[in-house]
């Protein structure tokens, strides 16, 4: 379970402080799928970064399971992310130096998992990329790169998957295919899914939608 309490984020600016998140409180249950929607600049990505432990808030706290993220330093959060969290990004974020297989192996190797290669192959098979394991990201299409990213995200068997505009860089058809894949795997693995999107169609597929406006949660169903 993810719990945010009075979560705030302020950044110093030339003319004073800019308040990006103004005290957000929310709860997401285990296995739930939640979409965070809102206009550009409403603070969606900032909220996602805080919930996932990529960033520190200026006030309030995030508790995931029994872990209070605000009590951890960056290295502690890194270990936590490696253990509990998976990511899918708008710009895929594959390492160009590594092949598709090696990209999927990376989080497993970071966890010191001995069967990284087998696990990675298995997940690449599940995203239907068995034939392209030795290809480098630049040799793959956008949709294929995102499928590798999805395989990488699930291979580490995270409890929670955070997705930031996962279809933002893809055409509608490919995007739809990626979404199908994401939800299908999510269901099979029983993962909690939190995604940030503009795409209302995508948001509709989630069990719940949180609407952000100027750093405040205005609607949640």
């Amino acid at each position: 379970m993810i719990r945010a309490e009075n979560l705030q984020k302020r950044v110093p600016m030339a003319g004073g402080e800019l308040e990006i998140l103004k005290g957000i409180s929310l709860e997401i249950k285990s296995g739930e799928t939640v979409a965070i929607v809102g206009a550009s600049g409403s603070g969606k990505s900032t909220l996602l970064g805080l919930l996932a432990g990529l960033d520190e808030g200026s006030g309030g706290r995030v508790v995931i399971g029994d872990t209070d993220l605000s009590q951890l330093d960056e290295d502690g959060r890194a270990v936590f992310r490696g253990r509990e969290v998976g990511f899918v990004f708008q710009s895929f974020q594959l390492l160009p130096a590594l092949t598709a297989l090696e990209n999927v192996m990376l989080p497993l190797e970071l966890k010191g998992q001995g069967d990284a290669r087998e696990q990675a192959s298995h997940y690449l098979e599940r995203v239907e990329l068995s034939a392209r394991t030795s290809h480098y990201p630049r040799q793959l299409s956008g949709g294929e790169q995102q499928r590798v990213a999805i395989a990488r995200a699930f291979a580490a068997r995270p409890a929670i998957l955070f997705a930031d505009e996962p279809t933002g860089n893809l055409d509608t058809r490919t995007g739809a295919h990626i979404i199908d894949l994401l939800f299908e795997l999510n269901q099979q693995e029983g993962t909690t899914l939190v995604l940030v999107t503009h795409d209302l169609q995508l948001a509709q597929r989630c069990q719940r939608r949180l609407v952000l406006e100027a750093g405040e949660l205005v609607e949640g169903d």
């Binding site: 990511f87 990004f89 590594l98 970071l110």
Partner: protein, 825 residues
């Protein structure tokens, strides 16, 4: 993670990310190990050469017989030994022929090093022989044959011994020792000495014990022997062998060390720049890895390991390059070297490898270490600032590391300080000047209206980054200018020191009656000669009435009774410089004397002291009126002690001069020797040729090293340009996408980079002048003169190089579609 580390390196290598870093490392290691191996081998070769001039590896000499036990001990220790004895004596032949000769008696094993040359007939072609005359035999200097009117097979008498003439001695390895001796050489066997009965207590003789063998054994034995030496017994080592070449080589070595130090600084800067760019470009990778759970320590481990791997590979390649540099040189010049250089050993390569480690730790690691602190949030937001900006500590750390490396490498704090001063001035002034120049006007936008406005806007917009770049370019250009300047003045000085028409022969023992005719003969033959100087052998006995210790009792190199050559002159001799006191008026009859500076220093004599001397058996007193400095390598007649003509007029003198003889005019000597058999001609042309040959080789080595350092400097410039290429490419691509023409963009970039190059050249030239002034006055013992040609060179080179490299590095922006360029960044 290991797969990831090697994979990452391999991919970065293919992507050209590591090119500059690796090349800089390879060059640093190559320069350091190459120069170090080169100087080690050259020193070995010259040491061997010096041994040749001693005819041994080590020599003990004394005016009295030394314990034979030392020779036995040395033999037991596994060394080769020989003995020689030199003394002046009359030699008699036939009815009434007699001649003062310099007798040298040698044992069977002589010479232990170098070559002894012999010919069966006088003046015939010489051949190298293994040992000297047998018992009962003598070899004579070719000149002695006509003087004594003897032929091979006839008898000569030395003291009470009758000895058979076997042939002519044509060359001894240790000939130079006592070359202003007592006339032509007679070489005999050591065991015949007793039969001559000429050696009496108090005789003017020089005993020598010669030792040779494995260098460690020799060193060990000499260390044992040294404390047992009595006063008057002196150990000669290699530095006594050939002082002529040593100064030139010492400077050359310093130059090479300077070049090596500069190479390390330049490579260090290139490494730092490349590592910084590398780490900036890896920021996003690290962010992804961190989002996937990698901790800072895991990231540090990954990059640390990559760096070590890279360092190991580059070190191996660098050692190979260093080996190739010195091997190439020795292959090219092997024939000109007097002896084959020995191996350099592993030391130079260890020095090179250690340099690589220090460079990596102090230049490459700081920016990479900060990768561990990169924010994982960059996976979501590109506007998170990079954390790889250099801190003041990094600069300080790098500066200290560079200083220590230079100090360790050159072993010369003056040289290190001079270069550091130049670097600090460049950095300090550079920032002030660059910021003022670049941030002078108000900040403007893209200003794409014209080429000039675009370029100026670019300069101002990136003010801070440009200032840093100007300083880096200036540092590289300054170091290169310093090297070129020092090299030029070094080679110039060598050339003026030994001009092609420098005297290459000495003529001594010219009788007073022969002075005029010899002088006339030289004129008639169009032979360039120095003035004829009188030469009187005398001995300094006391200073201010206090007796000096005898040579047997004196401390080594301390004040003692000394025999030397006196001369007289009304004017300061050519090439001499007055350093204290005053020169006398012509025709003075005051009892005064002028001393050579270092001689006076060794003897503890100052201006105003009164010296008591003996010339033959006649006493002479004079007050020291001045001290002179002179150049011993000028090949002119040089004297420790010069008197006014009136003071020495009544003493018997012979005369000497030096002259230049062309190689194809050598036949003149045979003709001359027959006409003036009592005059001794000393041929220095072979020695001079040898010195010149070695200097030429060393100059060639310097050029080679200079080329390598220039390559390192070019790397710094490339790394410096690359550091700012991404941002410029980004802006230019946007301009391209908006419709800017090729000419506008390239022209703007050209002007921008040329302006940076101009500022850098200006700074570099000023700092180089300062550095060279300090270096030459302090560290290299040379005269500093400003070089006007340096300014156009520095400014021009800065502009052309930076503009060329800059535009070349950014050429992609006009050759590729803007979208492709933007996607790559």
């Amino acid at each position: 993670m290991s797969v990831t580390a090697t994979r990452m390196l391999a991919r970065d290598w293919r992507g050209g990310e590591l090119g500059v870093l690796v090349m800089a490392l390879i060059l640093a290691v190559g320069v350091v190990s190459g120069i170090s191996a080169f100087t080690t081998r050259l020193q070995n070769a010259l040491e061997m050469e010096s041994h040749r001039f001693l005819a041994a590896d080590a020599v003990v000499r004394s005016g009295r017989e030394m314990p034979a036990q030392w020779l036995q001990e040395a033999g037991t220790a596994g060394l080769d030994v020989a003995t020689t004895l030199t003394f002046p004596s009359m030699v008699y032949a036939g009815e009434d022929a007699m001649q003062l000769a310099s007798i040298k008696a040698v044992s069977d094993a002589y010479p232990l090093r170098g070559e002894l040359k012999f010919s069966a007939e006088p003046f015939a072609a010489p051949s190298v022989v293994a040992s000297g005359p047998g018992r009962g035999e003598v070899w004579l200097d070719s000149r002695l044959f006509p003087l004594l009117d003897v032929a091979v097979g006839e008898l000569v008498q030395v003291g009470e011994a009758q000895l058979t003439v076997r042939g002519a001695v044509r060359g001894e390895p240790d000939q130079a020792a006592g070359m202003f001796g007592y006339g032509p050489r007679l070489l005999m066997h050591y065991d015949d000495i007793a039969a001559t009965r000429v050696i009496q207590p108090g005789s003017r003789v020089e005993f020598r014990q010669l030792y040779a063998g494995d260098s460690e054994l020799v060193a060990e034995f000499m260390a044992q022997l040294k404390p047992r030496l009595a006063p008057g017994q002196r150990l000669l080592d290699v530095s006594d062998g050939q002082p002529g070449i040593s100064r030139a080589l010492e400077r050359a070595e310093r130059f090479l060390l300077l070049a090596g130090s500069l190479g390390v600084v330049l490579a260090g800067v290139a490494i730092a720049l490349a590592a910084r760019r590398f780490s900036e470009r890896h920021n996003d990778y690290v962010a992804v890895m961190k989002s996937l759970g990698a901790t800072s320590s895991a990231i540090n481990y990954l990059y640390g390991k990559s760096l070590l791997l890279l360092g190991a590979l580059a070190t191996a390649a660098g050692c190979l390059l260093g080996w190739a540099i010195q091997a190439l040189f020795f292959t090219l010049f092997a024939e000109q070297l007097p002896v084959q250089p020995g191996p350099s050993g592993a030391q130079p390569y260890l020095v090179g490898s250690a340099t690589a480690m220090v460079c990596l730790l102090s230049f490459a690691w700081p920016p990479l270490r900060r990768l561990g602190q990169a924010s994982p949030l960059r996976v979501l937001r590109k506007d998170i600032p990079l954390l790889t900006r250099k801190s003041a500590w990094d600069y300080l750390f790098g500066l200290v590391a560079v200083s220590l490396l230079m100090l360790w490498y050159s072993g010369d704090w003056r040289l290190t300080m001079a270069l550091l001063a130049g670097l600090l001035v460049t950095v300090g002034l550079g920032f002030v000047l660059a910021m003022t120049l670049l941030k002078g006007g108000r900040l403007v936008g893209m200003s794409a209206g014209s080429i000039w406005r675009l370029a100026l806007a670019g300069l101002q917009r990136r003010g801070a980054a440009n200032a840093l770049q100007v300083v880096i370019f200036a540092m590289a250009i300054m170091l290169l200018l310093v090297l070129v300047l020092v090299r030029t003045s070094l080679v110039d000085e060598w050339q003026t020191q030994l001009p092609a028409d420098a005297p290459n022969h000495f003529m001594i023992n010219i009788g007073p009656g022969e002075v005029q005719s010899v002088d006339q003969l030289l004129r008639e033959e169009n032979i360039r000669s120095e003035a004829l100087y009188p030469m009187i052998r005398g001995r300094v006995m006391a200073v201010n009435g206090v007796d000096l210790p005898s040579p047997e009792e004196a401390e080594m190199d301390g004040p003692r009774q000394r025999e030397t050559n006196f001369t007289w002159s009304d004017t300061l001799p050519t090439g001499n410089e007055l350093v204290a006191g005053e020169w006398w008026q012509p025709d003075t009859d005051a009892a005064v004397v002028s001393l050579e500076e270092e001689f006076a220093q060794r003897m503890g004599i100052e201006v105003g002291d009164t010296l008591s001397m003996l010339v033959g058996a006649r006493p002479l007193e004079a007050t020291v009126s001045s001290l002179r400095s002179l150049d011993w390598q000028s090949m002119r007649p040089n004297f420790f002690m010069v008197f006014p003509p009136q003071v020495l007029a009544s003493y018997p003198a012979t005369f000497m001069t030096s002259f230049h003889l062309e190689p194809d005019n050598k036949v003149f000597l045979n003709h001359f020797i027959r006409e003036y058999p009592t005059v001794t001609v000393i041929e220095m042309d072979l020695v001079i040729d040898q010195i010149r040959g070695i200097i030429e080789q060393v100059s060639a080595a310097i050029e080679l090293v200079l080329a390598v350092i220039l390559a390192t400097g070019a790397l710094v410039l490339i790394a410096g340009v690359q550091a700012s290429v991404d941002e410029r490419l980004h802006e230019s691509s946007i301009l391209r996408a908006l419709g800017a023409r090729r000419r506008l963009i390239l022209g703007g970039l050209l002007i921008e980079f040329a302006a940076l190059g101009l500022f850098a050249g200006l700074l570099a030239t000023a700092a180089a002048e300062l550095s060279v002034a300090i270096l030459q006055t302090w560290a290299m013992d040379m005269q500093y003169a400003p070089s006007p040609w340096l300014w156009p060179l520095g400014l021009g080179a800065g502009m052309v190089l930076i503009a060329g490299l800059g535009v070349f590095s950014c050429r992609r922006v006009v050759s590729h579609p803007p979208v492709a360029v933007l996607r790559e960044l």
